[in-house]
């Protein structure tokens, strides 16, 4: 991306669209702050989550509960309270007290999802909430997101047009190092599909 200026307003969820390798995930991580721009700056006016859906951020040899405690500490939240709520949401049961490197990728995603939902962020960054858990868990996740819809926004990367439509009102299209913001997600999707056809 070169010479990009972008302002994302609060109160609208945004889908990041672009072909593979266009830089969607990188942009998401830059918004979150774990990747720094080579030049320029990013100004944040809200409490932003870390990019969800990676399953990263967990230290393998620590248990689920210990990892949650770490996150609680860095975000200044009561540790026991957060562990209890995550235990409840992610439904990991006894696995909460086993090292994360014994988890399947689905379990890691559930833990990550559980933690992020349990903390009140203003903006949630989501990178492909693909198949997180079984149908019942997906329902729970969807409901949790919906409950947050009033107070929090989502910035999302997804290859599923349906998912983008479901969660986002606006869209950003990445193509050839340029970024275009569309207030209406349908316009963004149309633009993206045109790019893909070329």
């Amino acid at each position: 991306m070169e010479d990009v200026t972008l302002t994302l307003p609060r109160g609208r969820s945004v889908g990041l669209l672009g072909r593979n390798g266009a830089g969607k995930s990188t942009l998401l991580r830059m918004i979150g702050g774990s990747v720094l721009p080579d030049k320029g700056r990013i100004v944040r006016g809200a409490k932003i989550s870390w990019p969800l859906g990676f399953g990263g951020g967990f230290h393998g040899s620590l248990t689920g509960a210990q990892n949650v405690r770490f996150i609680a500490r860095i975000y200044g939240i009561d540790t026991d309270d957060l562990v209890a709520r995550v235990e409840d949401f992610s439904e990991l049961g006894a696995f909460m007290h086993m090292p994360v490197n014994t988890y399947s990728s689905g379990m890691k995603a559930r833990l990550a999802f559980g933690v992020s939902m349990a903390i009140d962020f203003d903006v949630y960054l989501v990178d492909e909430i693909t198949s997180v858990g079984d149908a019942a868990f997906k329902q729970k996740a969807r409901a949790a997101f919906r409950a947050k819809a009033g107070t929090a926004d989502v910035i999302m990367v997804s290859h599923s047009v349906g998912t983008i439509r479901e969660y986002c009102q606006s869209g950003v299209v990445l193509e050839n190092g340029a970024i275009s913001y569309f207030h209406d997600v349908e316009e963004a999707l149309e633009h993206h599909q045109r790019n893909m056809r070329q």
């Binding site: 979150g32 702050g33 774990s34 990747v35 720094l36 721009p37 080579d38 006016g45 809200a46 409490k47 932003i48 870390w50 990019p51 990676f54 990263g56 951020g57 967990f58 230290h59 393998g60 040899s61 620590l62 210990q66 405690r69 770490f70 996150i71 500490r73 860095i74 975000y75 200044g76 203003d122």
Partner: protein, 259 residues
């Protein structure tokens, strides 16, 4: 967004990192701490046994274990901190996903934990040695703290530079490991500078660790009063890698996080 001082947040992140480190390294069982004491104790025991077979008396005092401890613990302070700090980034890679956790945080957290642990270990070892053995020792804490402080700063400094370089070049990581091994032999751990021939003394002087171990010895042996020690030299030697490391880190932070 909650208004909160940056210092408070910094403190929380450091606390979280230190707790996490303690849980993984010394966590489940007290075993971790026991090993932290046993490892240098074992080296000291081995050195003492070997040298007491060769020589009658150490260069200072009458007791081999104490003589070696005064040199080795200072060296160990440097070595351990250097090693811990240089692997801060690689060991905490997953946790750097959180924007609140920066590379500097991981370095400071590791450094603090290492210093605290080493102080504990050093205290335990000297307490044991001085209780078991009797020797013409008069402790002067000023020299001990100076020695530890210099060793820690040198370790931090080399560690910071290496934390950047290791991310870039695994070859350098291996090379550095190899270069480091003879360091043990030329840092005044099991001899004093004065024991060496004049020509060698000139060369050894350039190793900052020789000064550090000598200062530690001043803290234990009242008759040992070397006149060649230069604290400014050690500080200068330590500041260079530190500044280069910090500058490189700023410039390459983006790349380091992506690795």
């Amino acid at each position: 967004m909650r208004e909160e001082s940056r210092i408070a947040m910094q403190g929380r992140v450091l606390f979280a990192l230190i707790m996490r480190e303690m849980t993984t390294r010394y966590g489940r069982n007290a075993g971790g701490y026991v090993w932290a004491v046993l490892e240098p104790a074992g080296t000291l025991a081995m050195l003492s046994i070997v040298f007491s077979a060769i020589a009658r008396k150490p260069a200072l005092g009458d007791n081999f274990p104490i003589f070696f401890a005064t040199g080795y613990m200072a060296f160990h302070f440097y070595m351990d901190i250097s090693r811990a700090v240089s692997t801060s980034v690689t060991a905490n890679r997953a946790l750097l996903t959180f924007p609140r956790v920066t590379i500097m945080d991981t370095i400071i957290a590791r450094f603090l934990l290492q210093v605290i642990t080493l102080c504990f270990v050093t205290f335990v070892i000297f307490a044991l040695l001085l209780t078991i053995f009797d020797d013409q020792i008069a402790i002067d804490f000023r020299y001990i703290f100076l020695s530890i402080g210099l060793a820690a700063f040198l370790g931090l400094s080399v560690g910071v530079l290496n934390s950047v370089l290791f991310t870039w070049s695994p070859t350098w990581q291996t090379t550095f490991g190899i270069i480091n091994r003879p360091l043990f032999l030329i840092s005044g751990v099991f001899f004093t500078l004065e024991d060496m021939p004049r020509a060698i003394q000139e060369l050894l002087w350039w190793n900052p660790l020789t000064h550090v171990t000598a200062i530690m010895r001043e803290g234990f042996y009242p008759i040992y009063q070397p006149n060649w020690i230069s604290v400014p030299y050690v500080l200068f030697f330590s500041t260079v890698p530190f500044l280069v490391g910090v500058l490189l880190m700023r410039a390459l932070q983006a790349k380091m996080l992506e690795q």
